[in-house]
């Protein structure tokens, strides 16, 4: 049975094509692309050498899920993230979804069913957008930030959590000739501290798994590990967790 999960996020749209629990193909396009969802689905199909008619069920998730015309069903990010995370790492009990514009902390059981969750959707502090702004302010590409921050030798405190103010705080650190890696370390620590608070709120139960685009950032993950005193695992394709969960839910629904 073939199913597609599509995660229409605020910055990127992700699609996965699955056969039962096996991922056949993945695609990622910018959400600002025209018909991003269609583009992502088409890319997935093309990679697997299939056509639209072969797939019976498509579940859409993410902030733009209701605008995915091809979807046969919808599900919220919370349950998709949990499902996807457990699929990738079966021991996952606490899932941190580190998305572009929001962070979610989810607790789930062994089958990926959600038992509790905490959201941050009032302030962009601690989200991917925050990191993106910092990346621009420091002129360090997003993918390099985490690595570079690990080279820090000195603690710098970044206290502002408002994206705009943090930008100026970072600029003033640059002015004071503070090394970029130290500033980066400070940024990562401040984000991780905030996420750590949310982690405590859902219970910090093992195994903690981080998904979402920001989970690729080793700097953030390192600090969360350090603060929480616990291992934080990251699946191979963290940004696709929601889409994988959606595809699995699509298959479930089709069966029942």
């Amino acid at each position: 049975m073939l199913s597609i999960g599509i995660d229409a996020g605020s910055l990127t749209t992700k699609a996965v094509l699955m056969e039962e629990s096996k991922v056949l193909s993945r695609a990622l396009v910018h959400s600002s692309t025209r018909n991003a969802a269609v583009a992502a689905i088409d890319e997935c199909l093309a990679k697997a050498g299939l056509k639209a008619g072969d797939v019976l069920a498509i579940v859409a998730t993410g902030i733009g899920r209701n605008e995915v015309a091809q979807a046969t069903g919808h599900a919220t990010e919370i349950i998709c993230d949990a499902r996807g995370a457990v699929q990738a790492l079966p021991d996952a009990r606490t899932v941190m979804d580190l998305g572009a514009e929001s962070s979610r902390l989810i607790r789930c059981d062994s089958s990926g069913r959600v038992t509790d969750f905490v959201l941050n959707d009032k302030c962009a502090a601690g989200t991917g957008v925050f990191m993106d702004a910092m990346s621009k302010a420091l002129r360090v590409p997003m993918p390099d930030m985490g690595e570079l921050s690990l080279k820090s030798t000195q603690d710098v405190n970044i206290t502002s959590m408002c994206v705009v103010f943090a930008e100026s705080e970072v600029v003033s650190q640059i002015h004071r000739k503070v090394a970029k890696e130290d500033i980066l370390s400070g940024i990562h620590k401040s984000i991780a501290t905030r996420l750590y608070g949310m982690l405590n709120r859902v219970g910090n139960e093992k195994q903690v798994v981080a998904v979402g685009g920001l989970a690729r950032n080793i700097g953030v993950i390192k600090w969360i590990r350090e603060l929480a005193g616990t291992e934080v695992l990251v699946p191979e394709y963290p940004e696709y967790a929601g889409a994988v969960g959606a595809a699995l839910i699509a298959a479930d629904r089709n069966k029942s």
């Binding site: 605020s10 302030c123 962009a124 408002c162 705009v164 600029v171 003033s172 640059i174 002015h175």
Partner: protein
Amino acid sequence: MKTAGVDVGSLAGKALILEDGRILSWGLVPTGPDSAETATEAMDAALKQAGLTLGDIEFIVSTGYGRVVVPFAHKNITEISCHAKGSNYFFPGVRTILDMGGQDCKAIRCDGTGKVVNFAMNDKCAAGAGRSMEVMADLLQIPLVDIGPRSLNVEKGEVSVSSTCTVFAKSEVLAHLRQGAPTNDILAGLCAALATRVYGLLKRVGIEPEFVISGGIAKNVGVVARVEQKVGLKASICFEPQIVGALGAAIFARETLLKQQKKPVTA
């Protein structure tokens, strides 16, 4: 007597030279990674313009975000005092000033000599600062200068933007776009939201004529018109609103010098 003021803001560095109370020249450079360097560049630009060297300037006051790191300044004074002073130079009748820069926004009340009697600034969160407009211009892919005029040309009706956080306002704007709202209407909503926040700040200090708007936002007619409407007063805007802080600093420099020389302070 030649004095100078240097204003190192978050987006631009400004320097201005004053001779016996008359503006001689000014320099305006974008803020670089090093505040001290920015200050030097701005100062050099102003000096070059006037055909002078640093040695010709008798007293220099620094102001703005980077005021404490200006290496050649004799004294630092906050941008709040400097804006009041500078506005008073252009508009002697000014009593209320709205200064809106990249990251913060200030409402200032002053007396007839340009001395601050009350002020208020926006808080921890950047909602209501000029930077949010840049973010939106970027997002909508239109030049910053077009925001104002276009926001006054509403097509279907102003949309409402409820998020105060710049980042979330951005997603709200995207949602409006997806739903087919005309760009102008979104811009109108953004300008209106900004004007409301700014107005709140003005009310905190109390509004009295004459009313001056300075800083980058003074160039946005969409915000200016909406603030004017709420305040019920026409705003005076000087020909180069970005140099008001540096001008104020230069005037303070002059006053300090005169006081040291025990001469009467007259313009």
